[in-house]
Amino acid sequence: MEVLNSGDGELFHMPDPDGHREYIRQNKARALVEKVMTEQEAVSRLVNDGDYLCYDCTILMRGPSSLLREIIRQKKKNLGVGGRFTFMVVNLLLGGDCIDRVDIGYIGIGRALDRIIAKGIRIAEWSNSALTMRLLAGAQGIPFIPARFLGGTDAFRYSGAKLAKDPWTEKEVVLLPALNPDIGLIHVNQCDVYGNARIFGPSVSPVEIATASKKVIISTEEIIDTEYIRRDPGKTSIPYYLVDAVVEAPFGSHPGEVAGLYRSDTNAIMEMLRATGDVTGTAMDQYLQKHVYGVATHNEYLEQCIGLERLLSLKQQANIKQGYYI
């Protein structure tokens, strides 16, 4: 196949289908094993310095906020981030000095984004769907996937994509290299002790991430009996052998929303936004001190930073249940 053009951007993950297969063979339990553990254990055991991270969904909705806070709390370093459809997480991780490279699909808002440049974080430019298609390729165990977008732009130019001549139509087509993250973090509505997970509602790319990632941590609003999974297998979004750890995390997406369970916390989001707006980084340091370093666990965060009254109020205001739990 004739390659006509290549993006100049740094490729933070080199496609390696056989390498990934070997990893899966050596490291992933195929049997039905219980894998419930605390945040602290899951992150400590599975997230290594230098890992490339993807997560689903977003800080505003059904995201793995408690796991991300734990990553910052444990001061993980030199992580890479697949920044697709991301609003504040890159800013948070940057504030925690956790990252050294970002694939930019959309990495949010706020003056603090300029700190990515100031801190010398390595970047490459993509688009939201370019990253989710790369994850799809990674999830299929193939080295790349063609696409009919991204081409012709500076986003292409600063990405690791290529432009090739399709051998059948002989037309130009963009090739997107596969992405197999080292770590995938996904927050879900229900999960059993083995990792069979259910996601209610639309989402960005949870199945692609769970499938493509070498290590997968699920945080779940509730743990359900496997009996319910087996009675209704059509509801399973992620099957057990893709998953390495299950963490029980009620209100795990706070300050984001989980549809059908609790509303997003506007005040808390504004507080986070203010922290991401300060280009000096001081506001973010204070934010992290209060919400991450100053509390030892997710429960402590909920108790000390948010409080029962507000949590109950957020729960009460989630009046749309149709399509989620009923």
């Binding site: 969904c57 977003t58 505003l60 909705m61 920044g83 697709r84 459809f85 930019i104 699909g105 959309y106 990495i107 949010g108 808002i109 984004l113 440049i117 970047i123 430019e125 993509w126 688009s127 939201n128 769907s129 370019a130 989710t132 298609m133 799809l136 696409a147 009919r148 977008f149 991204l150 081409g151 012709g152 732009t153 500076d154 986003a155 292409f156 600063y158 432009l163 037309k171 130009e172 509602g201 639309p202 989402s203 960005v204 790319s205 949870p206 199945v207 692609e208 929303e257 549809a259 059908g260 509303r263 997003s264 506007t266 989001i269 936004l273 989630a318 749309i320 149709q322 399509g323 989620y324």
Partner: protein
């Protein structure tokens, strides 16, 4: 329908777009992000086309949002996703776009050039050392590449209509040469369609693909619009006047869609 005489610039853009959607009521719309694109779709849906086929990046197909939406949550929330025809994923929506199911993409941008290329990534400097860094191409790249036609919302300002954008995040007609998009791997026959500001509507010349002024608001003359551009657009031989927002449209916006303000507040007040 009563013509309004007092509205914000954002309301002007939103109402204009809603009217466009009403005229193309059987088309499909891929709306990128919140702000004026989403608000335009909500207005069109509430007032003109209740069963509007609108899709969102995160897999939501034809929602009937529970308005008013919460502040900051103009997408990715239960209220926006409400009563959709289907809840899918980003790759699903992208695949439908790739297959040609989406007629119009509606987007905002920081900068736009004469061939409709847009920037949402950075300003000044170069890629590795920009003066200001922004979110990135986001979904705008696939929306601009794969929808049959793209509609851009922006402000009528010189710093937005530039000869050359600081970074091409999402494709217009690229360098304007014939077949440039196709040579870059984009689908045949897709491309930029309109640029809507509070004061003007632009299209693109059929032969040269260069931006062309098509219509101006009642409260401006051509010179006022040209003054606020860093390049000179072509001008349609028959320049039209934009329809004014109607009182009905503004009521829906102010009472049902955005009672707390937000997207509709942006810009100056226009008083006629």
């Amino acid at each position: 329908m009563t013509k309004a005489s007092r509205f914000t610039q954002a309301e002007a853009t939103i109402c204009c777009t809603a009217k466009m959607i009403e005229k193309e009521r059987e088309s499909s719309y891929w709306v990128g992000g919140g702000g004026t694109p989403m608000t335009s779709a909500l207005l069109a849906q509430k007032l003109y086309v209740p069963n509007l086929t609108v899709v969102l990046e995160d897999g939501v197909i034809a929602p009937q949002p529970d308005i008013p939406l919460d502040p900051l949550m103009m997408f990715v929330s239960a209220k926006v996703n409400y009563r959709a025809a289907a809840w899918t994923s980003m790759n699903t929506v992208c695949s439908h776009a790739s297959l040609g199911f989406f007629d119009y993409g509606i987007l905002e941008s920081l900068q736009i050039d004469p061939y409709g290329n847009i920037n949402s990534s950075l300003l000044g400097g170069d890629y590795y050392h920009p003066e200001r860094r922004f979110g990135g191409a986001g979904g705008a790249n696939e929306i601009s590449s794969l929808c049959w036609r793209t509609i851009i919302h922006t402000d009528q300002e010189k710093r937005k209509f530039v000869k050359k954008v600081d970074f091409v995040s999402s494709p217009g007609y690229l360098d304007g040469s014939p077949g440039a998009r196709e040579k870059a791997g984009l689908p045949n026959g897709s491309g930029p369609y309109r640029v809507i500001t509070p004061e003007a509507i632009f299209g693109y010349d059929e032969e040269t693909r260069y931006m062309k002024l098509l219509a101006i608001a009642e409260w401006v003359e051509v010179e006022d619009v040209l003054e606020k551009m860093d390049f000179e657009p072509m001008i349609a031989s028959k320049l039209e006047r934009l329809e004014l927002p109607t009182e009905e449209e503004l009521d829906i916006l102010r009472v049902y869609i955005s009672p707390r303000g937000g997207a509709i507040d942006a810009g100056n007040w226009i008083e006629l």
